[in-house]
């Protein structure tokens, strides 16, 4: 039965003219939203097509003459290769369940950021070129030709999706819009249309093993700075090994941890914990990146950049691999590494030498997340912890998209935080675990020039943090992801300035009572420990 309008509704006449259909609504390219285009030298390094100088604001993007043919052939190839791609192109019924689940739509209010509409950007071209109904009925069937405007629109919106997969949690058909974005980006890359914030780190990684392009001596040098700081705080001189053959465990972490605060404090946490355990492990200056910006470019590049991890494990002759706190790194390692570059039959099923726990969940990949490893240590009472050292903190935990939706890592980080902090508060359940909101800057969108976009995307997460900050006085946002540590710092600074950002292992290291340590007066940031004010 139709809803009977109320008298005041009847008296209101909407003079707004009908809005244009989304296909007819021109896209406005706004500075602050898009990222700079990929530089030719980076595409050349990666052997990607069409390296050339180009600027987003220019009319001419210097595409090859037969660009439409390249894209449509690329689309056909992928439709044949990936069954999921074809299913996702065919099966959406436009129910709208995903529409309001995207952090970019919620924060920007731009309807083309609704996951359904972002997918339609590609689907409309699919219909027009690969389905009979679309070929015959055209526009009536929601089909449209692949024009230059359409291509530019793809570029604008596929780099406004962080591949976080929150929308897929709510899709009744299980359509994974992240995979649609991945396909969109692969097609764009066939024309040299990447962003430089992804192409640059990927090129660095291909040549030097890590996104930042740190050479072996720089990696060692950066860690030495941290070791000096650890000695200042604890009085303990740690001497980790590098590229040591015959070590039991290879440790791999995102290079962001080696470089910028607050990731460096998390890295100090790893160094202190692994030293305290007396673990037989080594760092590698070659497999010096757990993250993978190839994953935001194409399946082929992701595989290429990932290959060094097993190769280095084999070269060094380790038994298994331990990995640091990262987000997308773990989606890659957990879901793709094994089939891309495995089987890792030269490695053993990971077994903690401290507790004897066998990590059955990593039976195939042979790689364990440090949160799993540390939670197991705590569970077996292997760590001496003084929670009071973190009493100045009221902590909440942000589930990273990839560790939560990509590998179901929910309990371990919480268990650790509970054991190293006295004050831990959860955010609203609609914004945590598998329903977690993205930081707003994942999948290679953590550039500087798109700061407005990042703040839009970060709003839903920040809004939930603000709630616990107001209710409980939360002042620290913990997470297990290097990109989170970098970008949530900016997001909090804009939306909730009273809240700082930390990795979980920074909290562990502050609480960790180490053998032979001096009386600690400060935390790893050099701030006085609770009760030690004035003595640092």
């Amino acid at each position: 039965m139709a809803k009977t309008p109320k008298p005041d509704e009847l008296s209101k006449i909407d003079y707004t003219p009908p809005q244009t259909a989304w296909t007819e609504t021109p896209t406005v390219y706004k500075e602050g939203v898009w990222c700079f285009g990929a530089k030719p030298k980076n595409l050349e390094t990666l052997h990607f097509p069409n390296p050339r100088e180009w600027r987003v604001v220019d009319e001419d993007w210097k595409l090859p003459e037969n660009w439409q043919e390249i894209v449509l052939n690329g689309m056909k190839e992928r439709l044949d290769k990936y069954r999921s791609f074809r299913v996702f192109m065919d099966s959406c019924v436009r129910c709208g369940a995903c529409a309001d689940k995207c952090h970019f739509f919620i924060g920007s209010g731009d309807p083309k950021n609704m996951p359904v509409l972002r997918a339609e950007l590609l689907r409309s071209v699919y219909r027009g070129n690969f389905t009979l109904a679309g070929k015959i009925l055209g526009k009536i069937n929601g089909a449209r030709p692949l024009t230059l405007e359409v291509l530019k629109e793809w570029w604008y919106y596929f780099f406004q999706c962080t591949e976080c997969r929150r929308c897929s949690v709510f899709c009744p058909y299980g359509i994974d819009t992240a995979e649609i974005t991945m396909m969109g980006r692969e097609l764009l890359n066939l024309l040299g249309l990447n962003i430089d914030w992804i192409a640059g780190p990927a090129a660095n990684c291909y040549m030097k093993g890590n996104h930042l392009g740190l050479e072996p001596h720089t990696i060692v040098g950066n860690l030495e700075y941290m070791l000096d700081d650890i000695e200042t705080v604890t009085g303990i001189k740690i001497t980790p090994s590098f590229n040591r053959k015959g070590a039991e465990i290879l440790f791999v972490t995102p290079s962001g941890d080696l470089f910028a605060d607050p990731g460096t404090y998390t890295c100090m946490g790893y160094l202190m914990l692994l030293h305290e355990l007396g673990l037989d492990y080594t760092w590698s200056t070659y497999a010096s990146e757990g993250g993978n910006f190839g994953f935001f470019t194409s399946n082929e590049l992701a595989k290429r950049l990932n290959s060094k991890i097993y190769a280095e494990a084999k070269r060094l002759g380790v038994k298994w691999i331990l990995g640091g706190e990262c987000g997308h790194m773990w989606r890659v390692l957990n879901q793709y590494m094994d089939t891309w570059n495995g089987p890792a039959d030269f490695l053993e099923v990971p077994k903690s030498p401290i507790t004897g726990t066998v990590f059955e969940n990593a039976k195939s990949t042979k790689m364990v997340h440090i949160a799993e490893f540390t939670a197991d240590l705590i569970k077996h009472g292997k760590l001496k912890l003084d929670k009071k050292r973190n009493d100045n903190l009221k902590v909440t935990f942000h589930d990273s998209c990839n560790t939560s939706r990509g590998m179901g890592l929910f309990e371990e980080p919480r268990y650790i935080i509970d054991n190293v902090c006295n004050n831990f508060y959860e955010m609203d359940e609609l914004t945590t675990r598998e329903k977690t909101f993205c930081c707003g800057s994942g999948s290679g969108l953590n550039a500087g020039e798109n700061m407005e976009l990042r703040m839009r995307g970060g709003l839903p997460r920040a809004n939930a943090v603000k709630d616990v900050a107001e209710k409980y006085g939360v002042n620290m946002l913990a997470n297990v992801c290097a990109i989170d540590r970098a970008v949530l710092t900016a997001s909090m600074d804009y939306w909730v300035p009273s809240v700082k950002v930390t990795g979980v292992h920074e909290l562990v290291a502050n609480a960790l009572i180490m053998k032979g340590e001096k009386e600690r007066t400060t935390n790893l940031r050099g701030e006085p420990l609770p009760g030690m004010e004035g003595q640092e």
Binding site: I106, G109, N222, Y225, F259
Partner: protein
């Protein structure tokens, strides 16, 4: 707020304010609709419909903030928090697809809303002068809004600069060390007279 004390606090009998108080819900709804209509129609439907503040931070923040601003304008309540309420809305709009004018215009749209919603009352009771006074108070808010908008935009640029500093700090630290280690003092005949110190202050 320019010492602009609402008449209700001054003890004056002003009819407009009692009408504004009586018809609060109608005025608020109309004002809220006017603000949401600055978004594309698909978006404004969502912003109006979704009531959960975690699923709809833009809609819920906007509604709560304008409700508090209305309380201040009509009853003079919460004066100290007015910049905060304005900040809550403007901080969001400052990063969305709005020009600076579109970003802060939502305050001025209250004028049109009140004129429309209280059209009969204003004309029957001859409240035009009181309306002018009320609208001046809205103008004050819009000026404050512009200050806040600028602060938000400056913050965005500051974030970019701070992030760059954070990323380059270790590199600069390293460069500084290399420079100090290699520092060699020479005289005018290019003879080495002193080496720079090897130890570096950290």
């Amino acid at each position: 707020m320019g010492g602009n004390i609402p008449p209700c606090e001054q003890g004056h009998e002003m009819k407009l304010y009692s009408f504004l108080s009586e018809k609060k819900t109608a005025v608020m709804n109309r004002w809220y609709d006017a603000i949401l209509n600055t978004y594309p129609s698909d978006t404004s439907k969502f912003l109006k419909g979704q009531k959960n503040p975690f699923m709809n931070p833009v809609g819920s923040t906007t509604f709560h903030a304008i409700e508090s601003l209305y309380e201040y304008l009509v009853h003079g309540e919460g004066k100290d928090e007015v910049p905060l309420f304005l900040d809550n809305i403007i901080r969001i709009r400052a990063v969305q697809d709005f020009t600076p004018a579109q970003c802060v215009r939502f305050i001025l749209s209250l004028k049109e809303t009140v004129r429309e919603e209280l059209k009969d009352e204003i004309s029957v009771h001859g409240l035009q002068y009181e309306l002018l006074e009320f609208e001046s108070r809205i103008d004050e808010l819009s000026l404050l809004a512009f200050d806040i908008y600028m602060k938000c935009r400056e913050k965005l640029y500051q974030l970019k600069a701070t992030e760059l500093q954070r990323w380059t700090y270790r590199r600069l630290q390293k460069a500084d060390e290399i420079y100090k280690e290699e520092c060699v003092y020479k005289d005018i005949h290019n003879e080495v007279i002193e080496f720079g110190r090897k130890e570096v202050d950290k």
